[in-house]
């Protein structure tokens, strides 16, 4: 069983799913679902479509350079079966995926840190621009308070 990769959105394709298109130079383009196939037929570039993995990688939204990706690379060299080797490989795969997950998390945190600074700047600008709104509301509040006080005084006098 081989799990393929969608040409458009890079999601895994399990057996029996999706469709492939054979170009005249014998290149096969595999698609995970009709959505991706249709987008391909519209001649859209996956790097420019926001929901694809390719877009996210190009625009720095996901980790791209990492040693853990070496594990996923396809090797066309046949390996002689060795029971111990299989065991160590399986363990290494698990470990590599753990490391990758952690690094991806860190990447996300770092990305969001820059985002936070930007958001703070934006908020400050907004406050500066619309400070009169806050001031006017304060004035209204004060007027209401004065009214209330006077009402209380009148009650006491009566």
């Amino acid at each position: 069983m081989r799990v393929g990769k969608c040409y458009f959105c890079s999601s895994p394709i399990y057996p029996g799913h999706g469709i492939a298109f054979a170009r005249n130079d014998a290149k096969l383009f595999h698609f995970c679902r009709s959505k991706c196939h249709k987008n391909f037929n519209l001649k859209r570039n996956p790097r420019k479509v926001r929901w694809t993995k390719a877009f996210r990688k190009v625009h720095g939204k996901e980790m791209t350079v990492d040693t853990t990706f070496e594990m996923e690379k396809r090797r066309n060299r046949p390996v002689k079966y060795d029971r111990d080797l299989v065991g160590t490989t399986l363990r290494a795969m698990q470990r590599a995926s753990e490391v990758q997950e952690k690094r991806a998390e860190l990447h996300y945190v770092n990305r969001m840190a820059a985002h936070k600074v930007k958001a703070a700047v934006r908020a400050r600008v907004e406050i500066k621009e619309s400070v009169d709104l806050i001031e006017s509301s304060e004035a209204v509040k004060e007027a209401v308070m004065v009214d209330k006080l006077e009402a209380q005084k009148q009650k006491v006098n009566i």
């Binding site: 057996p15 469709i19 054979a22």
Partner: protein, 126 residues
């Protein structure tokens, strides 16, 4: 799905550009031709530099093997794929190609005894 009146491109160096299918062969009341099916067709259009050796003319009747279809091909392992045009290769009744070259990749479905010669001519096999 190739049926009567379907126009198919020719992907070999026989000097023919397009064919019009007039009958799908193989089977009683067979409607549609798929990969590897033999069809009877008439020559519609020739290429500018025709193959003089074969001497095919417009209106001639020929046999052809369907090698690419727009409709999808399903394999037993669940693989589904399709091509972007309908095309065929001109052969004789014994499925031997008349021309000497095949220009497009062919699919594995042609791998049976009669049409193995075609596969050997193809640039690559899917």
């Amino acid at each position: 799905m190739i049926q009567t009146q379907t126009i198919v491109d020719v992907v070999d160096n026989s000097g023919v550009k397009t064919l019009r299918c007039i009958k799908v062969l193989g089977g009683f009341k067979k409607r549609y031709g798929v990969f590897g099916n033999l069809i009877r067709a008439s020559i519609q259009e020739l290429r500018q530099k025709g193959n003089k050796k074969l001497g095919l003319k417009k209106g001639d009747l020929v046999f052809a093997v369907v090698v690419q279809t727009r409709s999808q091909l399903k394999r037993k392992d669940g693989q589904v794929f399709k091509f972007f045009k309908n095309s065929a290769v001109i052969v004789d009744k014994q499925m031997k190609p008349l021309a000497t070259r095949v220009l497009t990749p062919l699919c594995n479905e042609l791998r049976h005894k009669k049409s193995i010669k075609l596969l050997s001519l193809a640039p690559s096999i899917l």
